[in-house]
Amino acid sequence: MSIEVSQVSKRFGDFTALDDVSVSLPSGKLTALLGPSGGGKSTLLRIIAGLEHADAGTVRIEGTDATHLPPQRRNVGFVFQHYAVFRHMTVAKNVAFGLEIRRRSHAPWTAASRAERARIAERVDELLHLVHLDPFASRLPSQLSGGQRQRLALARALAVDPAVLLLDEPFGALDAKVRKELREWLRRLHDDVHVTTVFVTHDQEEALEVADEIVVINEGRIEQVGSPDQLYDSPANDFVMGFLGDVTTLGGRRVRPHDIELLTTPTRVDAVEGTISRVLRIGFEVRLTVLTDVGEVVTVELTRAQATGLGLREGATVFLAHDEPAHRRILQPV
């Protein structure tokens, strides 16, 4: 385990940000800290980075007790939501910063110093290439787009070969399209670089798409830890289920709207009869509101092709049934 957090608590005045949190984050993996705003996930990340101090508990990074180490001695890379790029430095200087700080001091005219500078320049080139910013090396951050700035911040954090890379809502300030591109890119980057990465997000889609492992945090507590599939298919509680995707109620059970089987004839004995009260098309999917005979209002999601095939419209009579997700996967491989 790369990061061991044990029994960490943090309060800000009357507000409890973290309440006796213990979690292990695996080495070499991409882990998401997922939860609603104000749930404590950013605080946990900042405590791991040393930017915030825990009131109680310990943090171990790669086997060393980091609880009382200042951020500059933890060997972590941190990427901020609003980039925090150095505004007065060029792109290349930004990336070189961590290396310059660590540089052994030689007199500037010596061969050793020249070798050191060449080494830094080479590493900067390499990183700028990695984040596709090589043509912008001599620009100032103000001449870059939001997505480019975030990639710059990432290259800067990677420059010092951190044991852990921590990203605080890395794509939160970007628009939807760029956000999608960047998270795919982050996934590919992680597959290339393999540095232990932890990122904070409140977007369940982002976590499900990018992460190897997800830690769901709410109201200062950890709700569940697991792979995206585990969390989605067998959520530990109602909160996790509701946070990871849409939920509706059928026959008194909470189920995913797209897990409901919709029939136009009662071919299953356990099917519940109902009437379609609303048909809503959202892009490629169709969302139906069905009023069942027992008085439940059920949301059902279908693809457009399915909906068209069944000839669904408002007022039509339909039959609803639900199988456990594990079942479904065996019957209809995705």
């Binding site: 930017l51 500059q72 901020f80 609003h82 925090a84 150095f86 007065h88 910063f97 700080i101």
Partner: protein, 283 residues
């Protein structure tokens, strides 16, 4: 393109209305009466017989002493303002502590309090005869009131807020994100300050320092009370102007005054140049 040009023709550029002309005229007359005319008269007096008045004034050792004293005081005050202005600004923006509001209010005090009151307050503490520390300091061989240290203190007191009030908003706007990023990249406190914080506020700092230099050159009230205004010993340039004028030596008063005005104008020009550079860097 055709649409745009026809639009320009049908709706011509907004004409300056009669009201705007009246406002402009009022401002122009106001500035003329308050600033331009008096300054022009001052310059005419100083250059009535060419450079003669100035050279005569500079030949007087007392005048030279006053100018040198003002220069030394201003440079010292600016150096002290640099250290304390930066320190106080960082304290006010980056730290939370009990009494922060009181400190912020105290920093503004010199802007609102009369400099004469400041001078008097310093005398009450440091006067070698009746001050709190004065007699003790005098026994230790340190002269504060009626000497250069007192003059520098009074000047710092009135000019410090100019640095703090320039730096604080820029420091606030800058935020501590970049500083935290530098920390996480391995920079210590001093490296973070020198490589990240200082470059971020450098223009605000220089701007504040130039303003405080101009203020230091022109300080009169506090310095007059605290210095004892002994011509040739503790009289600064501003005090020398007043004293020359009181003694009917109007030409000398004009000459020193013009030199002071020129120094201040120079400061303002520097500030204007800095402003454009600052704007260009941000743009």
């Amino acid at each position: 393109m055709a649409d745009a040009s026809s639009a320009t023709r049908t709706s011509p550029r907004r004409r300056t209305s009669a009201g705007a002309w009246v406002v402009r005229a009022i401002v122009a007359v106001y500035l003329f009466l308050l600033v331009l005319w008096p300054t022009a008269v001052l310059f005419r007096g100083a250059f009535a017989d060419g450079l003669g008045t100035i050279t005569a004034a500079i030949a007087d050792p007392d005048v030279v002493h006053a100018l040198v004293l003002t220069g030394q005081t201003a440079v010292l005050a600016v150096a002290i303002n640099l250290v304390f202005g930066l320190g106080v600004s960082l304290l006010l923006v980056r730290y939370d502590f009990f009494g922060k509001r009181v400190l912020s209010w105290l920093i503004d005090l010199p802007l609102s309090a009369s400099p004469v009151v400041v001078g008097l307050a310093l005398l009450l503490v440091y006067s070698p005869v009746y001050g709190w520390f004065g007699p003790g300091l005098r026994e230790a061989g340190i002269e504060v009131a009626f000497a250069m240290p007192g003059i520098v203190m009074a000047t710092c007191f009135v000019s410090l807020p100019l640095v703090v009030r320039e730096v604080v908003p820029v420091l606030t706007e800058l935020g501590d994100d970049q500083e935290q990023a530098a920390r996480s990249l391995g920079a210590g406190g001093w490296q973070t300050f020198r490589r990240i914080t200082l470059p971020g506020i450098r223009w605000a700092l220089v701007y504040g320092l130039v303003l405080s230099l101009a203020r230091s050159l022109g300080e009169f009230g506090a310095v007059k009370v605290v210095s004892g205004h002994v011509i040739g010993q503790t009289a600064t340039a501003t005090v020398a102007v007043e004293s020359a004028y009181q003694n009917n030596n109007t030409e000398q008063a004009y000459a020193i005054a013009v030199l002071l005005v020129l120094a201040t104008v120079l400061c303002l020009v520097v500030v204007a140049i800095l402003h454009t550079r600052d704007a260009r860097e941000k743009g």
